[in-house]
């Protein structure tokens, strides 16, 4: 119930923002702007879905941005320098994303390291590796073998000019919705996120469940990395993907995930990333100084979480007192 209310709340905020800015500037709802914004929503949304799984376990993945840079650089190296086919290159990149996630998951569940620390090290390590393997040079795809076909995944549109990344996000969201809210794995994920110990006592292999969440996050990050690399076609290893993990975390939190674990919804996360990117878009269109972009987003996230905390606090007092 509460979750539904929150999702509706974010949706209403998005509508209000769009209406308000439409009055100020008609280009907000122009086809070009809508297509471009929704393309970004697709690219950012996919990694946010992955992040939400990790956050539901009570963990976090700070390495997402750096992984996007590293995998983007590698994709370019595979396709341009090594002349590998685009299909194979993308497959390897996705597999690598999964492996990096697996490493995070095993470090967290087997060695009981803290997710924040593990992935903070990853953030630094992968950024460094990205710069090293590329000799700190900006990478692109030029006119490498087969690039025009696969590039359309990120830059092309399908039915009624809907951007391909958005279509991909919708498909992924449906799958994630089924997994999270309808499958045993989803239930186990929530149970392990709330209380790993009691999940274990109930016979759930919570280590496996949690590790898998990191793998999922890695794979989704890799898919976003591919799309983002094709989208920019210019991967500067020191800045590409900077702060992306924070977008994903903010989207998940706005959408109702608790950083304590055990809470979250797919619809919430998708609405969360939509809100963030709409705001970013409006900053540009409404000619708010772009230096204020992060500040505006920070304030909006803060207000969203604050409103939720106040709301939730009222709920818990009632709940606690009746026990």
């Amino acid at each position: 119930m509460k979750q539904r209310g929150k999702e509706l709340g974010i949706f209403v905020i998005i509508l209000i923002l769009l209406t308000f800015s439409f009055i100020r500037n008609r280009t907000v709802l122009s086809p070009e702007n809508l297509i471009n914004t929704s393309r970004l929503i697709g690219i950012y949304g996919i990694m946010s879905l992955g992040m939400s799984f990790v956050i539901i376990t009570g963990g976090i993945d700070l390495s997402v941005g750096s992984v996007i840079a590293l995998l983007g650089v590698l994709l370019s190296i595979f396709m341009v320098d090594k002349h590998m086919g685009p299909g194979l290159s993308m497959l390897i990149v996705v597999a690598m994303g999964g492996l990096l996630g697996l490493a995070n998951g095993l470090l967290v569940t087997r060695l009981k390291m803290q997710p924040f620390v593990v992935t903070l090290c990853g953030l630094l390590l992968y950024r460094g590796l990205a710069r090293f393997v590329s000799n700190d040079e900006t990478k692109g795809f030029g006119d490498s073998n087969g690039i025009s076909g696969v590039k359309a995944l990120a830059t092309g549109n399908s039915f009624f000019s809907i951007p391909n990344p958005l279509i991909l996000l919708v498909v992924m969201s449906v799958i994630f919705f089924l997994v999270l809210h309808k499958s045993t794995y989803g239930r186990y994920l929530f149970a392990s996120g709330y209380n790993e110990e009691s999940a274990r006592y109930a016979g759930i292999n919570s280590r496996k469940v949690i590790t898998l969440a990191y793998v999922v996050c890695g794979v989704m990050t890799a898919i976003s990395a591919i799309l983002f690399a094709f989208y920019t076609n210019s991967i500067s290893p020191s800045t590409h993907g900077n702060f992306f993990e924070l977008y994903a975390i903010a989207a998940a939190v706005l959408g109702g995930c608790s950083l304590r674990g055990g809470e979250g919804s797919v619809i919430g996360v998708v609405l969360g990333i939509t809100l963030l990117l709409v705001i970013r878009n409006l900053v540009t269109l409404l000619q708010i100084p772009s230096s204020l972009e992060y500040a505006v987003m920070g304030v909006v996230i803060f207000i969203g979480v604050l409103a939720d905390t106040v709301f939730r606090k009222k709920g818990t007092t009632v709940r606690k007192s009746t026990t």
Partner: protein, 491 residues
């Protein structure tokens, strides 16, 4: 009267927690407050200590109207509450805990020496012979409780509220605590003593106040206090005592040989649990009983052999144990036994979920039916299946834990302190259910620190002391003395 509460009423949405409750308390007396879980004892204490505010009613303290708007108001008046769940800080030492927020200072620095000296004096008073520089994490539950009381005494305390103080204590520790309560009474402290343990009430209370469903259920003066009278007052009916069945026990279902738990690697345990029996396991707190069953259930590592139904198996995780038909209802219901944030339905179906799916997706109708059946079978009282399990009483929570294992046809059911913190009525119900489960051929292994429970419910009693299995008593040999002898080391 030192303290007078009259007409205290507190409503929570949908629940009447307290209705027109009166209570009075004089300096230098111990008043026991008894009642089933949910009778309103804790709410009343929370109002008195400033955690909640009453909707109606008045409080008077030393003849003046008492306004308690926050816990610090209560403290200012000398009202101290020691909660069931201890609130000390494990990472600090005893002295720091006692004087937390009121440290002695020398200029800008903490005067550690004075802190320690003062702490030592108070610790002597509560009978805790430990250096004040000991980290709290190293103390047992009983010792931590004494530290909390020491903290209360370091302030001026006129009213001391003890909420289920002995539920985790051994018999010896309980006696220590009761002695301390008597000493405080003789110094004029007024004590409100909340407990489920009627023996203790008999030993210590000057008066008894009963609560039932948020209302006053009666009072007993010192001369009227008897177990039957108290039980009657709490539940409004007589409880039938569990009749001991004749010797039961068929084939050996669970067999431990050369078994060593990680906690006590030098102690070898050999144990058999038979079909249809309830094997009680007694011992003082820290005897290693929970550690033993945790190892059997695959939570902790072990050495040695486990045989289930004559077949040697290796249990590396709870999944292995469950697969072999061995189930554990752990001691810590809220931390391990249940996922308290989830609903009754989700908790019930959690271990069985895989079987309630179509093509990997949960079949919500079947899940609902499954939970409904289990809830009905165990007679769980809940508003509906989607109720959050944290809102249920302890007894009903325990029934959910038992119910979810029962539905999976256990060969061996291990229950660790199955009725801790559970009211008398629900206890009797749980005993009957355990007996019923055993009669279907399940082997039950019940760890319990409640002597009455061990004696009344078990067919045989195994006793442990510091990791060692000191003896197994057949039904005829079971007596309190025999158990205590073995529990203290056996001779």
């Amino acid at each position: 009267m030192l303290l007078q509460l009259s007409g205290i009423t507190k409503h929570f949405p949908g629940v009447i927690a307290l209705e027109n409750v009166d209570l009075d308390l004089a300096a230098g007396e111990v008043v026991a407050i008894i009642g089933e879980n949910g009778a309103g004892k804790s709410t009343l204490m929370k109002i008195l200590s400033g955690v909640h505010r009453a909707d109606a009613g008045s409080m008077a303290f030393e003849g003046k109207t008492l306004q308690v708007k926050s816990p610090s108001d209560a403290l200012d008046h000398g009202i101290r509450i020691i909660y069931q769940e201890l609130s000390g800080l494990d990472n600090l030492d005893i002295a720091s805990n006692i004087f937390l927020g009121r440290e002695y200072r020398k200029g800008p620095f903490v005067d550690q020496k004075k802190l320690n000296d003062e702490s030592k004096k108070i610790l002597e008073r509560v009978g805790l012979n430990v250096s004040p520089e000991t980290q709290l994490v190293r103390l047992s539950i009983a010792e931590k409780q004494l530290v909390e009381i020491a903290r209360a005494l370091s302030l001026e305390v006129k009213v001391l509220i003890l909420d289920e103080p002995t539920s985790s204590l051994t018999i010896e520790e309980t006696n220590n605590l009761l002695r301390l309560v008597q000493e405080l009474r003789s110094h004029g402290v007024a004590i409100l003593y909340i407990t489920h343990r009627l023996d203790e009430v008999q030993q210590i209370a000057d008066r008894v106040v009963g609560l039932r469903d948020g209302r006053n259920a009666g009072k007993l003066s010192r001369s009227e206090i008897s177990k039957d009278a108290m039980v009657k007052m709490m539940i409004g009916r007589d409880i039938k005592r569990e009749e001991r069945s004749d010797a039961v026990g068929g084939e050996v279902v669970l067999e431990l040989s050369d078994f060593r738990s990680a906690r006590y690697p030098d102690e070898v345990v050999n144990l058999e649990v038979r079909q249809g029996e309830i094997l009680g396991m007694a011992g003082l707190v820290g005897a290693g009983r929970s550690e033993l069953v945790r190892a059997v259930y695959g939570i902790d590592a072990y050495r040695g052999q486990i045989k289930v139904g004559g077949k040697a198996i290796r249990i590396k995780s709870p999944q292995d144990a469950i697969f072999a038909g061995v189930f554990l209802a752990p001691e810590d219901r809220r931390g391990c036994g249940l996922t308290v944030e989830m609903s009754v339905k989700e908790n019930t179906s959690l271990p069985k979920l895989k079987a309630l799916t179509n093509f990997g997706l949960i079949n919500f109708k079947r899940e609902e039916a499954y939970a409904k059946e289990s809830v009905a079978e165990m007679n769980v009282k809940t508003a509906n299946l989607n109720t959050k399990i944290s809102t249920l009483s302890g007894g009903n929570q325990q029934k959910v834990v038992l119910g979810r294992w029962l539905a999976m046809k256990p060969k061996v059911l291990i229950v660790d302190e199955p009725t801790r913190g559970i009211d008398v009525g629900s206890k009797a119900e749980i005993y009957a259910q355990l007996r019923e489960i055993a009669s279907t051929g399940t082997a039950i292994w019940m760890i319990s620190s409640d002597m009455e429970e061990v004696i009344n419910v078990s067919d045989r009693v195994a006793v442990m002391h510091e990791g060692k299995l000191t003896g197994i008593l057949e039904r005829k040999q079971v007596s309190e003395e025999a158990i205590m002898k073995l529990a203290t080391g056996g001779h």
